[in-house]
């Protein structure tokens, strides 16, 4: 704060879409807050920010007196643009069938006109991770027959754009994997339904068979990689195995849904054996595996803090307090909503974690820069810093607070409309004579 007061900047260049946002309290997240500051945006990037910034007289001025600026939040588990109404088949483009599909790309399937996008972003969420398959098909309720293991490439996108090329921040932010698990209960349908148990030795055998299959696939990918490197004679392109090369090189992580201790341990052991990077998704009850996660420096996207505890005797606040525990254990984590319909509630999910032991500053970081770092896009988004994409949100207060209103929203420097399907319906029925 002290340093910020003495900063004085001038903006040399006036780009077409450039503007200066004045008189706002800036919360850059990566540095101290700036009271009464200004942000200059040009060509979709933040070019200057500080307490005193002078800009060219011709630049467009937006006055934000009394308002706060936060970096746009990142929802780390959605199917944004891939699924509109889950029960309407035509509006879904997810969950490809096949065992190993690392070549399937979620990014190309993103529908920029999805109604979920405006609804989500007006709560201050400007980016989201798009998973190529739903986790319900990936992790929970397994045991219903042969299932896909590598589900495809996920993407990190801006929640605004004319097409997916515009929206993409990272076209391959991680390959989603359903890690084989020892499933000792058959899937059950309906409220409160409990599946019939599967004998442990039988479940373990299934798991071992599946794991062997996975290892064989990774082996063949390694052979392919070696052949390609060696420019071996008769080498033939194989899109499936080719898509594994960035994973094997450690450039792209595997995203593994692992709720409980056993799967977490197994997944980490697998990652070590294969020497690949992983990010754990939907971690809900890590138990003693917390230490293993920390030792191996595995980033985590926590399960929804507002979800119910996993087991009957778990404390009522098991899910609320997990992010706080991860923080205390020194584990890098982010938040996700694991759906589209309620993706807008991301800040409130984090707010629950704050009420149950996560320091407020850490929650804000996990929603912004923390998430960006985990998915390797922190040079683009995640904080209000010079040179980064101008993805920020202008509010009348704390974005984790339900009453707070988003007054303006900028994505890649564009002042995005706050109109949503809900506001349109509101207008429609208010104007009914």
């Amino acid at each position: 704060m002290k340093i910020a007061k003495f900063l004085l900047f001038t903006v040399p260049l006036v780009a077409q879409d450039s503007f200066i946002l004045r008189n706002v309290t800036i919360h850059p997240v990566t540095s101290a807050d700036i009271v009464g500051g200004s942000i200059v945006v040009a060509n979709g990037k933040i070019v200057e920010l500080g307490a005193k910034v002078t800009a060219s007289k011709s630049i467009k001025v937006i006055d934000g007196r009394g308002l706060h600026v936060y970096p746009g939040m990142i929802n780390c588990a959605t199917q944004m643009g891939l699924s509109e109404v889950t029960s309407v088949r035509e509006s879904n483009d997810t969950n490809e069938i096949g065992e190993f599909l690392p070549q399937v790309r979620a990014v190309v399937a993103v529908n920029p006109d999805s109604e979920h996008i405006p609804v989500t972003r007006v709560n201050g969420i400007t980016s989201s991770l798009v998973l190529p398959a739903s986790l319900s098909e990936t992790g929970r309720g397994a045991g219903t027959g042969p299932q896909s293991i590598l589900r495809g490439q996920s993407a990190m996108i801006h929640l605004d754009g004319w097409n997916w090329e515009d929206m993409a921040i990272s076209r391959n932010a991680g390959v989603l994997m359903r890690f084989p698990a020892i499933v000792t209960r058959r899937a059950a349908f309906g409220e409160g339904a409990i599946g019939t148990p599967i004998p442990y030795n039988e479940a373990k055998k299934t798991y071992e068979t599946e794991l062997k299959k996975v290892e064989e696939f990774f082996d063949s990918a390694k052979h392919y990689q070696a052949a390609k490197m060696a420019k071996a004679a008769g080498f033939k392109l194989n899109v499936q195995l080719d898509a594994m090369i960035p994973v094997l090189e450690g450039k792209v992580p595997l995203l593994i849904a692992a709720q409980k201790e056993r799967t977490i341990r197994d997944a980490i052991a697998f990652a070590k054996k294969q020497n690949v990077k992983i990010i754990l998704l939907d971690v809900t009850k890590p138990g003693k595996a917390l230490d293993v996660i920390k030792q191996n420096n595995i980033p985590v996207v926590v399960g929804k803090p507002t979800s119910l505890p996993e087991d009957e005797d778990d404390p009522y606040d098991a899910s609320y307090s997990l992010p706080g525990q991860l923080y205390k254990a020194g584990i890098k984590f982010a938040f996700g909503t694991y759906d589209n319909q309620f993706a807008r509630n991301l800040p409130y999910e984090a707010a629950f974690a704050v009420a149950y032991g996560l320091p407020y500053e850490e929650a804000l970081k996990a929603l912004t820069i923390g998430a960006a770092e985990i998915f390797g896009v922190s040079n683009e988004i995640g904080s209000i810093e010079k040179g980064k994409s101008a993805d920020f949100v202008v509010t009348d207060g704390d974005p984790l607070e339900v009453r707070t209103q988003v007054k303006m929203l900028f994505i890649r420097g564009k002042n995005v409309s706050l109109e949503t399907k809900q506001t349109r319906l509101y207008e429609k029925y208010m104007n009914r004579k």
Binding site: T184, P199, Y200, E312, D313
Partner: protein
Amino acid sequence: MIKSLAFLCLPLLAVAQKQTTVAIRNAKIVTISGPVLYKGTVILKDGLIEAVGENVRIPAGAWIIEGDGLTVYPGLIDGLSTVGIIPPPVITPTTTAPATPPARGPEDRPRTTSWERAADKVRANDPRIDSARNAGFTSVVTFPTAGIFAGQGAVVNMAGDNPSKMIVESPAGQYMTLAGAGGQGAARGFPSSGMGVYAYVRQIFIDLDYYEKTKAAYQANPAGKQRPAYDRALEGLKESGRLLLPAGSKVEMERVIRLASELNMPFVLYGAQEGYRTSEQLKQGKVSVLVSAKWPAKIPNGDPDAEESLRTLEVRENAPSTPAALAKDGVKFAFYSDGQTPVEFIKGVRLAVERGLSHDDAVKALSLSTAEIFGIANRLGSVEKGKIANLVISKGDLLAEKSTIQYVFIDGIHFVPSPDAAPATVAPPGATGRRPRTGDQK
């Protein structure tokens, strides 16, 4: 052993006799209905107990069993079983049978076979009869068990080659289940949910009441009246006279007692493993219960990492103390095998004894109490004059781990326990029942 060999010659005179007169003398007699006789004599004649007492004259020509070191108990009764009813073999249909349309409502009498009688289904060649007898079970109360109103039970003696002669009492009550069938799509029929089952049970009793009234009115004066339609479901229900209702947990017991109190028919709860929590209520409601001796256990080959809930562990820990709690509060209860083998069943009862139930109370819950619950205490359940000669004679306390069953009498006929249950003895030929495992086979 030597003693029993000595008996070999004696009853040879009585070869033609189906039943001999038997006298067990100087034995400890746990009569259940009265005090224990420490040096008593029991006389069995014509399939009945002719006399019990300390100063009983032994009739001439009786087969005398020296009872020193032996204890005489009434024959054990399994309070709820399917022994004697041989399940039909599973036949894979070669052609698909035309599907019966799912039930739409109570008028279709879904999952109801209330007219079926165990007495008509009992077969003497069920191998389970042998093993029941070897463990000291001289009678079982056997039931058809499929459906909401599954059918009428029968009290069956575990001896004989003619099922008609094995039946002691029929009907012994209506076996009921209260679970919704569930099911998806076309297979889904009424009632698929618990609330549907309850509604159906209430409905059928309302129907029964109306049926009785219209029938009575018609019989009194048929002229000028439309005759009421015959309804076998209601006829079967009326006949059964007693309902067996399932209730394992506290909430189920409360719910089922409330339902049963509306139904205007005597009822017995079966299951009752959470009886340790409800004995007070059961006592106040004067409810009789059949306690399953199949105590909740950890599932074999379960997931070692799965967390068992406190609730599960609590019930598992406390369920075997249910009989002791019921005995303490004076609730009438009896044991049933719940699909276990007789050996497992006795093991289950033994656990209840370890948890505070007295040995003789446990025997009572396997004899007289069972007989009382099914209204046959005037015939079975104790060592009393005039009752059916069903006895089990053991060396040591009957339910104790180290005890051995020496003699089993059913309808006065002597059965020799199988070699694994007790050392082989030679039975007097005239006094043996069908297919006894005799010494000459060894």
